[in-house]
Symmetry: C2
Subunit: 228 residues, 2 copies
DNA sequence: CGATTGACGACTGTCGACAGCTTGAAACCT
DNA sequence: AGGTTTCAAGCTGTCGACAGTCGTCAATCG
């Protein structure tokens, strides 16, 4: 975790002086959703700081950040622990996601236009292409990107922030079951159905579509957890 | 900012060794929603640390906490600034609140029973009593308590956390207009209507009631901001 | 032999310090 | 005067250090 500026002379490189906190946060995030820490495992600030070659201050700040994102939990005087999700909490996360996306679609359907439709269709195309061959994490990211676009187009930035908050937990949920969705094709189809519902302009149809879409995802994840 | 244990001998007091971070966070929260900092004002870590007689570490952590709660925003290498809300952001907050409470009521109406109804009616009684004479902040807290109970009874802890997150922003919104609701009686009446809708068991009626209730609050706050 | 106590090690909470960046203003040039 | 450069002050990001607390394990007592 050494700071490597690594900027060649000629190029007007966008110097991203990423502070240590962000780098540590990224490292921890990847380690957690990559299952390199066991759920419930205690993380020692000292050890992490030693391993990463930084002091404890940025480690603490990064850990607090991940705590606010729901990836870690802290106990006073005892430190940080990797979030362990039981079936109930997992179901709650998907229920909240349903809440947010229902609302976003109800708003979006009133301002839906060709430009938004095109952008969303492009994203689904990307997902279909990624369905075969790409890594699971890539598929997950493209899927989340689609839903993030959906909410962003609804026009409520605070709603988008709420989604970003739970998206980290969603990644954790998905990572916990070790695999993405059952059938890459069916999930792609489901996204087309969402777009068709939006294009129809019928709020009830949108709601049906998103209920089905998220219901399938939730059932799959909850079932996966039950097995694991 | 001294730690005052203050436990008498007899009582088996639960000793809460509040750490400095929490105390600083409380101080900053009160100062912000109490309008003792101007919106957009820059807060210096050093100065705060000096004023409060602590080092910069707990101040930083508290500031990061308030940032995650939407009361502060940070810029790299520049520090923390008091969140300034424009009309659009303010409307977004209330729209998200509507989203969460709609969902909570839809869930709650399916598990509503006499015990929950009694507890909620008691809370409305408290609010009615507080309507005359008590301080504005007290009224706000009792009002928020009612809505928090509503969501807690819905049974989704993640939903409750989302509400707690925006509740801090709600306090900021309300503080920004400098006064609570127009008519203490009308707001109390509106809460009774919510309870009646829940008791009726009719989801559509619940949705109407919460839409009206939050719509009134939002219109009032948005109008208040426009004047200020 | 089981329960309690005490000491030890490890870790968190907090602190003060230093380097580098940001900012505002003085000094300078045109 | 208007704009630019230089400079100093203040601040943030990061670090290492210390004190108090928590968990563990062995020694002690019933």
């Amino acid at each position: 975790m050494s700071t490597t500026p690594s900027n060649a002379l000629g190029g007007a490189v966008i110097i991203q002086q990423r502070n240590l906190v962000e780098q540590v946060a990224d490292y921890l995030t990847q380690a957690i959703i990559g299952q390199r820490f066991a759920p419930g495992e205690r993380l020692s600030e000292m050890q992490l700081a030693r391993d990463l070659g930084v002091s404890r201050a940025p480690v603490r700040e990064a850990a607090r950040l991940l705590e606010s994102r729901g990836l870690l939990v802290s106990q006073p005087r005892r430190g940080f622990f990797v979030r362990a999700l039981d079936t109930g909490e997992l179901s709650d996360v998907f229920d909240l996601r349903l809440c947010l996306e229902r609302h976003a679609l109800a708003r979006l359907v009133t301002v839906f236009d060709a430009e938004k439709e095109l952008a969303l269709r492009r994203q689904v195309d990307i997902m279909c292409n990624a369905a075969t061959g790409d890594s699971d994490s890539r598929k997950i990211e493209e899927d989340l990107s689609f839903h993030r676009m959906l909410i962003a187009y609804a026009g409520n930035r605070r709603l988008l922030k709420a989604f970003d908050d739970i998206s980290h937990e969603l990644r954790l949920c998905i990572a916990l079951i070790g695999k993405t969705h059952a059938d890459p094709d069916s999930i792609a189809t489901s996204h087309w159905a969402l777009l068709d519902a939006l294009a129809s302009g019928d709020p009830a149809r949108c709601r049906e579509a998103i209920d089905y879409h998220i219901g399938v995802a939730r059932d799959y994840v909850v079932k996966g957890i039950g097995e694991a």
